[in-house]
Symmetry: C3
Subunit: 264 residues, 3 copies
């Protein structure tokens, strides 16, 4: 019985601790692991990407509880879902976009069975009053269908994808990690279908060596490109920050082009 917790609540206030208390009060045997609580405030896309990078490393049956909820108190639907081997409890606002793009098998319900809510339900903290109790009961084995009516299609934003032509891949920065590594939407699987070696990598108006095998292939402070731990194409600076050094931000384009011989 394992629940992971992902929020934009930070760790300064007791909001996260209170959600854990609510879960433990329903069943003290449930274990809780923090994915992160430092999603930028109300940044659904960042929360969705964080889920994508982590959900599959947990034991099958794990309940992923994700609360990045700018629409709390409005019409957005609270949901629970069974997608692939995992359960998810979250607002239906796009947080599952990447997960849904990867997994076909799915079943989802709206959390409208008030029997599984904590009462009274506040106007501003459904993480405590609706989502945490649902995750706890789900971890305890309550069937998904008990939590409410079928949800139908879930809200999903278009997942960024690279633009490929025969001569070029144009990919996009989708995340910057705490080290300043710049992660793109180009997966190694897709790259491998392109069959272009060697290629010229261009980011922020600069040629970047790569894809290299590891950071140690370039000197300290030099930029490089490689396939990172998430299986995605990344631009990094050895023992430095690529985001800061190259001025790269989420949404920026990075191109991989066929190397052409030039005669001058």
């Amino acid at each position: 019985m394992l629940i992971t917790l992902l929020t934009d609540f930070g760790t300064r206030d007791t909001y996260v601790g209170v959600m854990k208390g609510v879960i433990k009060d329903i069943d003290p045997h449930i274990e809780i692991i923090d994915l992160t609580h430092e999603i930028p405030a109300q940044d659904i896309a960042a929360g969705a990407f964080a889920l994508k990078t982590s959900f599959a490393y947990f034991p099958p049956g794990t309940v992923h509880l994700a609360v990045v909820d700018p629409g709390v108190g409005s019409a957005r639907r609270p949901i629970a879902a069974h997608i692939g081997s995992y359960f998810y409890v979250c607002p239906d606002n796009g947080l599952l976009s990447y997960v849904l793009a990867q997994e076909k098998r799915r079943e989802a319900v709206i959390l409208n069975n008030t029997q599984y809510w904590r009462h009274p339900v506040s106007r501003t903290f459904h993480g405590r009053d609706i989502f945490a109790p649902a995750a706890a009961h789900l971890a305890c084995g309550v069937p998904l269908s008990d939590f409410g009516t079928q949800a139908g299609a879930l809200l999903s934003f278009p997942v960024p994808t690279p633009r490929m032509t025969e001569g070029q891949i144009l990919c996009h920065v989708i995340s910057v990690d705490v080290f300043g590594n710049v992660i793109t939407d180009l997966s190694e699987d897709i790259y491998n279908t392109w069959h272009v070696t060697p290629c010229v990598i261009s980011a922020a108006g600069q040629d970047i060596p790569g894809p290299v095998a590891s950071y140690s292939d370039v000197p300290d402070g030099a930029a490089l490109a490689l396939f990172g731990s998430s299986g995605h194409f990344e631009v990094a600076v050895r023992n430095g920050s690529a985001a800061r050094t190259l001025g790269l931000n989420i949404g920026d384009g990075i191109s991989l082009s066929v190397k052409t011989s030039t005669h001058t």
Copy 2:
């Protein structure tokens, strides 16, 4: 066997990890949940408020271990207490002020039975050497009275309360959360005894609409007032920070006044 942990130690050093090691070394079956470790350094009032917002969400019997301890090494008393359905282990310096204001049933002892200390006791880290061991043994079922002599009255600072007249409530900012929501000392229970609807809410020289039902009742960036998840009257800015936008700080007054019809 559940212990919660609240400190001003931050998470950069290993002080919190060490306290957990001491607890696990006494009994590895004890589970530990972090409330927060980001109480501002030595801010007893902030620690007391954080305890108030969270203690009651945990299973009865939970041991709340709280260490915000500017007086470590001086005459302040280390205590363990049974208040309502929960246990508390902390310095007797006001950390329990809000809890004591809410709960009548209480029993407290001074942690002067050195059998339950970790030896040698350091001069500066009683969290490790006195409080954590006491919390662990308490979680294991050692009776409160074994830890030392009866404590008598506990130190408690006056809990902020709103000033009410027939025509006005003057409440005070008692906390600002990480989102910039401004939380006051006016509880919904007290407000409901006032019977004044509608009212004019004034904060930082501005009229604030409310109490509204949820954030979505106002446009993005607009201020509003509502009863928040702690059951207290709050001033917020939708998808923004009320503290920053309105310049509100702890201690500032916010008034709710009877709406009078004016003819000019």
Copy 3:
């Protein structure tokens, strides 16, 4: 079955959460406690000191998993070790320097048995693919020798030590904690062999009273020296930051000299 986790990954990304998922997927009964994830990026010395201050407070048999790994993907060896009463899993880059300086009994292997790796192994995240799986299997009771070939001598940097003469101890700042307390390489044990009382303590060109018994021996805002919770000689400012007030940094010298009577 307890694993502690120490990294320089921060808590903003899901790297730490993913390592915990990998551990739980190997055995859900393993418990995981965070020492800290805020070691400055790639600062092996800071990671080594953090391990030193915490390893011995945990139950014997605890697995300490430490990943500060600037050489990931290069020739540095991934190791598991049994040192004193504890197990360690980390890169062989000096992280165990302080632990090795304290403990004689040791056995170490290189993690080159690929059966205990998570596949495919990434180029940049051995914490997830090599270290976390090894720690989990070690916690489950797999013998150390199963993980790979004997490691021989481990990499260890010289641990800072005070210079002692009959008239003076010159010690060095080895760590600054989050409160600004300045921790030196002078242990109370060594000091006690010096037999000089009283002495004149000089730091940053200033005379500092001490060693005192506790913070409360000086007024608010005043500097003092004492033996702190780690058993080391520290310089602090009561309810303030010694590092900031006195301008002390890691590596700076602090002297303790015999008090001589001067006649003018």
